[in-house]
Subunit: 655 residues, 2 copies
Amino acid sequence: MKPQNRVIIENVTPEINGGKYPAKRVVGQYLNVTADIFADGHDVVKADICYKHESEKTWQLASLTALANDAWEGRFLVEKQGYYQFKLRGWIDHALNWQHGIEKKVKDGQRVHVELWDGVQYIKLLQKNKEANAVHKAYFAHLADIFENAKEDETKYNEAVKEALSSALHHIFEQYPYQQFVTEYENNLRVYVDRKKALFSTWYEFFPRSASREAGKHGTFKDCENLLPRVAEMGFDTLYFPPVHPIGMAHRKGKNNATVAQAGEVGSPWAIGGKEGGHKDLHPELGTLEDFKSLIKAAESYGIEIAMDYALQCSPDHPYVTEHPAWFKWRPDGTVQYAENPPKKYQDILPIYFETEDWKALWEELTSILLYWCEVGIKIFRVDNPHTKAFTFWEYAIAEVKKKYPDTLFLSEAFTRPRVTHELAKVGFTQAYTYYTWRNTKAELIQYMNELSQGAEKDFFRPNFWPNTPDINPYILQSGNEALMLIRYFMAATLSSNYGMYGPVYEFNVHAAMPGKEEYLDSEKYEVKLWDWEKQTKTSILIKLVNKARKENAALQETNNFVNCPISDDYLFGYYKQSQDGSNHILCAVNLDPHNRRGGTIQVPVGKLGIGANETYIVHDILTGNSYQWRGEYNYVELDPYFLPFHLFRIEKMR
Amino acid sequence: MKPQNRVIIENVTPEINGGKYPAKRVVGQYLNVTADIFADGHDVVKADICYKHESEKTWQLASLTALANDAWEGRFLVEKQGYYQFKLRGWIDHALNWQHGIEKKVKDGQRVHVELWDGVQYIKLLQKNKEANAVHKAYFAHLADIFENAKEDETKYNEAVKEALSSALHHIFEQYPYQQFVTEYENNLRVYVDRKKALFSTWYEFFPRSASREAGKHGTFKDCENLLPRVAEMGFDTLYFPPVHPIGMAHRKGKNNATVAQAGEVGSPWAIGGKEGGHKDLHPELGTLEDFKSLIKAAESYGIEIAMDYALQCSPDHPYVTEHPAWFKWRPDGTVQYAENPPKKYQDILPIYFETEDWKALWEELTSILLYWCEVGIKIFRVDNPHTKAFTFWEYAIAEVKKKYPDTLFLSEAFTRPRVTHELAKVGFTQAYTYYTWRNTKAELIQYMNELSQGAEKDFFRPNFWPNTPDINPYILQSGNEALMLIRYFMAATLSSNYGMYGPVYEFNVHAAMPGKEEYLDSEKYEVKLWDWEKQTKTSILIKLVNKARKENAALQETNNFVNCPISDDYLFGYYKQSQDGSNHILCAVNLDPHNRRGGTIQVPVGKLGIGANETYIVHDILTGNSYQWRGEYNYVELDPYFLPFHLFRIEKMR
């Protein structure tokens, strides 16, 4: 930057931690950029965005537009995976400023022959521009003549004024901008672009060992393969399994988290490692590596990706414990303290010691686990408790994997403090579990959705809404009220473009809880279950319909397009979503009261739809097939929880 | 930072443009620091602030305290002028974490002998600390023994538990912290400390050429000297003069901004430069350099500093125009466009060309003007229209001057767009004119005061409130209503610790305006005035009282301590201020309606005062001498604009 540079650029968004971390988008999305851009004085300021994909050499340009009070905005489309770099530039455009000055003086009735003459310098600059001069040679020569000689010749003066103020010349000035002292914003601005699934994914979770259709039989990868058509038919594209590795014997947990397991009890799959191996091995009862590869391949043919669990903890039997003692924190009595969050105890697992001096070998080995499974064919990892491992490790590991396998996605299981959750997203996690699981009232839901979609986190934190998980049987679902199960499911699937569910338990309405806790009674974490995979419930039928709607309506494939639609009832929650291209319009209305039919007036943001205040339009309920004719902003909805506690409307303009 | 570092520090305030610019304070103020600080997992995190003055080598420590959701806060006192650097540090404190873990387990009824044994490592570390061990040698040896042998000996176990949980040990751990992987926040954080006057100053402006007491006589520095007792008696500490340099003859302005001056007309003092010299010279009719020096010295003896006007523009007669043509932007007809903001025209001045290739010589010369007057004895500059000169220049010039004359203060005259005004403050201006001049309603005043005192600008932007200036005769004062004059004055002087007024016009209630404009009719900018300097008005008496109150009440010597006090009337505006040390409490109530007596209930923030909900206390009106006994939060005020439209209460607790 030269001392004569007069333009200031600051307060840029998205800029995460001063440019330390990239913003996030998926292929085909726009990156919206805002900044404050201004100069001293009153001269005309212009600004633009230069951007390029890491694989490209040439910068592309996107324009920035001035709003009120020196705020500017612009956007550009990201079309390739990987990093884009972008820069903001601003300059005083003396050519446009000259034009603007003449305009003001002419309006004020002043004679401007000196100003016209002064404009010759800008025409001369254009003449030096080979590209511009090739097209406009005669025009430029003419302008130079009339501007220079406007004083003597009244005809020339009048023509010169007309030309000086012409939009033709304005357009040429914009096309070949006068850029003398260009200020470039100094921070390193980047956006990391994932494949589309990072933003739009539909997860189903079950325990492979419960995949068998025979009582008393441990499920296998083959059994899982047989369930693929069912998962696909319901419309899921991601099938997530708890860990599929050998399970330790030492301190193995029994039914309902008993500290001593009975003979034959299977233990928690998160107690990874035993004599059969560790994180790179498969539990023998599930099958072989070949079986697993076959499952991955079969899933692919159904449009389903298998998501593995990446849980960085070890059963006391894990080979690491003897082979790499430096990776654990030993106490003077020769033991390692099992994982705990007092008074909670996880006797069957040892935490890994991330502060070890042997960190380099540890990090490389842990990363090699991910690379190993990527090689096998896995592209999605659900990461267990990432908030108890060093952020520096995640930044390293995720970057290493993405370098080689850029399609890889990481879902962070971090239901923890907001700053911690956000930091994990900043250092590289693609998606994250959220507090949705505990946001129940209308006010809570609106506040949380506004935070996610409009807060600073909107640019780096991609939510994935889960109404339940094997670890969380939320209080609101413990009654087993079917309407509540539907409501909590429906909102997860329509508020967030990424959502998931711990499936069989939800579909079949298993809801008994450990007394006073948000945990399942007789949790599948500690035992093999036999599910009736043929069974259809109201929930499973609706899942199928909602997942189909998600696939067919681009508005449901984003989260940050959430717009709250006020409804005149504290239990009625309405929201609107529009697809990026403006062609798809979804309106949802939910009755949060599972017991009573409720009605109210919903305020439709017709302005965003381009619908007039008195115009009529059709709202088509995708789930029931019913259509209604509405008019203008305020319309009536009524929802009966015993029939269906929500509307999923596609809005269709009548023009 | 090592890979094992687990603590994250981010979202630090004050941090201006990523640390590019310093925060601002004056000697004796605290710098409040906030940040988000956290680590993975649940271990105990500790953090502190290291700070030092630029002249010091040793870092001092200030503590940081955790609030909710990983937010932390701390503060340190700045005692010297110049730059302080500060750093934030955070670490996992394993010793405190060990103590905390034992506490949780003991509460849970667990036996902790292994944990006690494990604690020996922290005692050993303390033993290695010479300073700690010198004081606690026996204690440490005892602890090491009981912790190590707690398993075998029940008496030792019980004692070990007691000692492990003791606040004595906790205190020692805090005094000699366990700091293994300390994260240091990476951005360069600084605060620039000015002398106290930067925050607390009271300005009076008059034109020296109108200082004479004889009709038809051009005022002189000697006349100004004679007025010093008057200015001092009214309680002003800063006497600001419009430019005192030679005034150009070319295109000199006549009365009421006439484009042609009549013979003998004095012209605008802002049209600087003529055959008598330029910015380093004095207008001969005002007196000699010796006279000026004498005035500065005499003022000093009254506790008054003379503030000069630094106006970077040139009359066409200025020596620069011929000596340094490269500093002006010439047009092809051999003229320089006079300053203008179309349709406004300033025919008597030429703007300086900051984009010139000769920028270095230009900047040095312009800076040398400041240095010259500093040498003469000036320490305060009011800068004319800084928003029309490059920010880069201001950053350079102010830094250069402060290096040599650190006491120098710069007031920026920039009633312009918010971003521009803020940027001038960031690059170095000490104080700034504000929009106060146009904030009239209660809602506007509350919003503006909250912005100034709580917005991001609170750390770098110091407001100076002016109810009028020679350039601005605000619409609200054009009626000449005396109550309004008093109200607008009173709020300037009590809302903002820095305020100023274009004095004689205000005191003597001169209010006639150019029709339809916010300008004075027969403006003193273009003619010499004769003022009756003996005259006392209600306004001048109140000024004296208010200025005295400002000197005697530390709460009025800050601006960011503003707290709005709700009153049940849209025309009654209440606010509370507390001094930094908590000993001085000021409550103001203003009736914004100049025509009607109004009463209402004011909500006193008794919590901040340490006064109970039903406790009685005294509010003492400093202006009238009246005292009232109030009780609790809600109390009644009534204000008659024809008597006095405001209360200036000092709150006195009865204990």
